[in-house]
Amino acid sequence: MAELAYREALNQALAEEMERDPRVFLMGEEVARYDGAYKVSKGLLDKFGSARVVDAPISELGFGGLGVGAAMGGLRPVIEMMTWNFAILAMDQIVNSAAKLRHMSGGQLRCPIVFRGPNGAGGRLSSQHSQALEANYAHFPGLKVIAPGTPADAKGLLKSAIRDDNPVIFMEGELLYGVKGEVPEGEHLVPIGKADLKREGSDVTLITWSRMLTAVVLPAAELLAAEGINAEVLDLRTIKPFDAEAVAASVAKTNRVVIVEEGWGYAGFGAHIADFISRECFDDLDAPVTRVHGLDVNMAYAENLERLILPSAARVVEAVHQVLYR
């Protein structure tokens, strides 16, 4: 296995899928000659030419919708949003077109498209550039939502997303692009909708996804281990459809749950998981489900305030103490 950065793993997935299927093309701001704002598309223009790696004008609604139309017309577009904050401008086409085409046409049309780009805080970028928006998209029927936390999952899930016949929201971690990890070579596919047990444990289940996995939850598990608390870490990887079976199995094992997400708590995706556990795993619970999430405020620029707003390993440890009544 090769050690690759998250961005390199994504690049490999794109190159392999474009090699495999001429219908796949990449469009977005700065993706071609600039090699991508985060260098995810590095070298792809030279390899595939200007009709398959397309520099779009700064018109998220326009090229987002153009991508949806191309998918209706039999292609498999990958639309890069420079960040998910900017994709808010394309929300109409993602929600009112992509997510509803199959339905409105009574099954005549399908919309195999991937919208991808960085999500979550990037570090000292203030409020317009530091939003974790997966809950927004998870809300809409017709969309799949993916948020991988490791390079291997990033590659395997992007390949699966490109091959899926539905519109897929693929959320990369803005602070994950440089993170390295082992990535299987060649045909590495990770199925959509399957969680991954990133750490086995017996005392408490920590459920998370995307950047929180490596930045907060795994370090928290180490801190807890030093205290003699054995935490299980379940990485959902896919937000929608989420792996209900894996969640239930882990709760049955540990009987205590802390959900960790970067986004806001109010109507956040963790609330949906907590709802599922309270209804489906009630008899397995020894403590109320607890959540650690971004504080419900707009992100500040100041270093100390930003740190306080985002979830931290210390807050996770505190929440675990709570569910263990320690």
């Binding site: 299927d21 001429p22 219908r23 093309f25 071609a32 595939f48 030419g49 200007s50 009709a51 398959r52 397309v54 520099d55 779009a56 004008p57 018109s59 609604l61 326009g62 090229f63 987002g64 919708g65 153009l66 991508g67 949806v68 139309g69 191309a70 998918a71 209706m72 017309g73 039999g74 292609l75 577009p77 109409d92 086409q93 009112n96 077109s97 085409l101 199959r102 339905h103 409105m104 046409s105 009574g106 099954g107 005549q108 049309l109 399908r110 029927p141 017709g142 799949k144 016949d165 539905n166």
Partner: protein, 368 residues
């Protein structure tokens, strides 16, 4: 100049459209059709004139005033009416209704309920055609008010830059719902905005089907030759309100009466009679045939079952291996349904943004 046969076809199709919409309006009054329902009455020359200039393999899409676009392309009137009635035999199995007609078999890619939402989608359809080196043209209609959406600006910029084969038609009926387009537009003659995108823009009398046909034919040929998109403004008028719930009090009776004298169907009838292409009796017979066809459509819709309750769970996502629904095959057992078969193995030859090879000397210079 349109042939006599073609003129008679257009006459028949305008009547088909008119009679369909009149009956839809009546059925709405009887509460057989509910929700929002926007009729095309008065504007028939636009959709029929353009359709006559298209090939079967071309694609069409529009906004929510979408009943007659698929109808004149050959969609089954009964199944369209059944969709309005919310029945299982409708094109979308009662999931779409008035604003979301789709008939992929006849190249009709949908009715869209978000004003201007179809504008970028049509560019995408055209992008797919050009990407596969096909000579298809996509036609996208929208209303005058949609021209004030940002989506139009964003799309036209890309469509011109990438020379996408798409004909954009502004069906300018002068009112965005109840607002006179001139009240909210700095340039209400929408085709005059085209030069701002280095785009070809033209206007046509949208109440004269022969003029629309000639202009559309010329523009579609120009687009098919690879010259890029065109914005055609068809100046037209709707004889009814914006939707069934609109009494249209923002227009004077005199204005509406004056416009009704320009009725595109009466106008073509006059031409056909003057040219002695058909007799009064022959033209009346065409009308009777279309009326009978719509009566059958109403009876079909009336007799159709509601979709099964279990249908709420279908068509939200595509399951692996799930085929597409082919409505005429499903409902009528038709064996002749042609479905778009997009190639999965082809070579992309389009160089969207050609550039000269980088100068090795310049690169050396940059390093030092």
């Amino acid at each position: 100049m349109a042939s006599t046969e073609s003129m008679l076809t257009m006459y028949r199709k305008m009547l088909l459209a008119r009679r369909f919409e009149e009956k839809a309006g009546q059925a709405y009054g009887l509460k057989k059709i509910q929700g929002f329902c926007h009729l095309y009455i008065g504007q028939e020359a636009v959709v029929v004139g353009v359709n006559e200039a298209l090939r079967e393999s071309d694609w069409v899409m529009t906004g929510y005033r979408d009943h007659v676009h698929p109808l004149v392309r050959g969609a089954d009137a009964g199944m369209l009416m059944a969709e309005l009635y919310g029945r299982d035999t409708g094109y979308s199995k009662g999931k779409g209704g008035s604003m979301h007609f789709f008939d992929i078999e006849h190249g009709f890619y949908g009715g869209y309920g978000i004003v201007g939402g179809q504008i970028p989608l049509a560019a995408g359809l055209a992008f797919a055609s050009k990407y596969r080196n096909e000579d298809r043209v996509t036609v996208c209609s929208f209303g005058d008010a949609a021209a004030n959406q940002g989506a139009m600006h964003e799309t036209f910029n890309m469509a011109v830059k990438w020379k996408l084969p798409v004909l954009y038609i502004v069906e300018n009926n002068r009112y965005g719902m109840g607002t006179d387009i001139a009240r909210v537009s700095s340039v209400p003659e929408i085709h005059k905005r085209a030069p701002g995108w280095a785009m070809r823009g033209e206007a046509v009398d949208g109440m004269d089907v022969l003029t629309v046909y000639e202009k559309a034919k010329e523009l579609i040929e120009w687009i098919r030759a690879g010259n890029g998109p065109v914005l055609l403004e068809a100046n037209t008028y709707r004889f009814r309100g914006h939707s069934m719930s609109d009494a249209a009090t923002y227009r004077t009776k005199d204005e509406v009466e004056l416009e009704k004298q320009r009725d595109p169907i009466l106008k073509l009838r006059q031409v056909l009679l003057e040219k002695k292409a058909a007799s009064e009796a022959q033209l009346d017979a065409i009308d009777e045939e279309e009326k009978a066809l719509i009566e059958k459509a109403l009876a079909f819709a009336d007799a159709s079952p509601l979709p099964p309750d279990s249908d709420i769970w279908t068509h939200t996502t595509v399951e692996e291996g799930e085929p597409d629904e082919k409505p005429r095959e499903r409902v009528l057992g038709a064996k002749d349904v042609k479905w778009p078969a997009h190639p999965t193995d082809f070579k992309v030859t389009w160089d969207l943004e050609p550039r000269s090879k980088p100068d090795p000397e310049a690169k050396k210079g940059a390093k030092s």
